[in-house]
């Protein structure tokens, strides 16, 4: 697990979210959300449905503009030109973000060109091997199963060697084999990446996280850094989710 401070010269955080607010119409989906993550850190973001978890992730991914507040990733501010920031992030979400009428190779080549990956062929081969899809390299993605699509989506997200990985319920809909591959990959790249993961899977989230947040009603209602006792956390989580549901 990543240590959470204590050194005299602490490095600048990799992700800084400060006073983030997002309004849709008259509805405040995010209200004054602030947190920071050190380089190599892993934030697990929990919360009931509609708490604002995915909205937070979409703002971090530059897919949604904040109504107010600031976001900085790897030293790049979202308020400035977001292009350099986009180079530093990779997103794995429910949707694989793959073109169904292209082959696995064509999809990865497309994204490699979009991100300016210099060792394109070598990188594609390496990642297809890693997600065990080398044998389906030239197959149309439309013919892939959900698990295969998600494995290819992992390869897509890692293609440009992002410093920060944003994961939106990455385990949902995966077969056990795909879960093993995803977990293996996450363990392998854990040290050199910073993660923000939205999940409902408490056990998995706590296993991986160096910082745990519970978001409810657009606010952070619980945060803890370092090791978290799963039983105590589950009790706290249930309490917040139930209160949130009543509110």
């Amino acid at each position: 697990m990543t240590a959470s401070g204590g050194d005299a010269a602490a490095p600048a955080p990799e992700i800084v979210v400060d006073g983030l607010t997002r309004v849709f119409g008259r509805r405040d989906v995010l209200r004054d959300v602030s947190f920071s993550v050190e380089r190599g850190g892993f934030v697990a973001l929990f919360g009931p449905n509609g708490a604002g978890k995915t909205t937070t992730l979409r703002v971090l991914a530059t897919l949604l503009a904040p109504t107010s507040g600031s976001v900085s990733i790897a030293g790049h501010s979202l308020a400035d030109d977001p292009t350099p920031l986009r180079r530093t992030i990779g997103l794995i979400s429910h949707s694989p973000l793959l073109y169904r009428d292209l082959t696995a190779y064509e999809n990865l080549r497309f994204y490699a060109d979009m991100y300016g990956v210099e060792d394109r062929e070598q990188r594609i081969t390496e990642l297809l091997d890693r997600v065990e899809l080398a044998h389906r390299r030239y197959d149309i993605v439309r013919t892939f199963s959900k698990g295969m699509l998600q494995r290819l989506a992992i390869a897509r997200a890692l293609l440009h060697r992002p410093r920060v990985l944003l994961l939106d319920e990455p385990h949902s809909g995966l077969d056990p084999h795909a879960v093993d591959i995803l977990d293996g990959l996450l363990a392998e790249i854990r040290a050199e990446h910073t993660f923000v993961m939205v999940t409902h899977h408490i056990q998995k989230g706590l296993e991986l996280a160096s910082q745990v947040l519970i978001l409810d009603g657009g606010r952070i209602v619980f945060r803890q850094t370092g090791a978290v006792d799963p039983q105590a956390f589950t009790a706290v989580y249930r309490e917040h989710v139930r209160e949130g549901a009543v509110a």
Partner: protein, 234 residues
Amino acid sequence: MSAAPALSGRRQFWALLRKDVVSELRTKEMLISMFLFSMLAMVVFHYAFTATGDIDLSPFTGGMLWAVFVFASLLGLNRSFVHEKDEGCLDGLLLCPVDRVTIFFAKMTGNLIFLGLIQLLAVPVFTVFFVTSGYWADLSTFVAVLVLADIGICVLGTLLATIAMSTRARDLLLPIVFLPLIVPLLIAATAATTEVFSGDVTWATLWGKLAFLLGYDAVFLVAAWGTYDFAIGE
């Protein structure tokens, strides 16, 4: 190890264009619908006008040709973001560190290629059906009219298709906004084409129409350049 890779707008443009062309050539959904509509419209026009006997169609040729192409292009434009929207790939595209104008130019060029392919097949058929005088001598002028009008259709159409993509009634919204805005271009292209097909081209009159088409293209290119970031955003 994770040094920032060099980004090239040209490489991104070709990647976007290749992706759209390969996807379309694999499914042919857009090309087939555009081609079938063009052929069907010309056959209907042919039988409608020849049913009443021999009439001189030359004053109507430009109008018929551009009516066919404008509606055929609408079929294509409506589908130009279908992969991004229906397959959820728009987020993947917007995540990429790419200038939004590069996305516009790649999409616009793709639409231009598809419309050009349809015209390559449809113009000879149209000529056989409706054009009585040879226009070989003015072929380059005709190609100039086609290219300038096609650019206008695809520039405006791509911009509006992008805006319509995020709405629930995108299939309805695009023609409702596109058709009124394309009318000035349609009038100039129709007049210029009729002049070419009549075999009576005079540069004094044609120049004004070509200049209008050029101006129309320029205006909407600048508009797309300035607004595309907002058009494709949230």
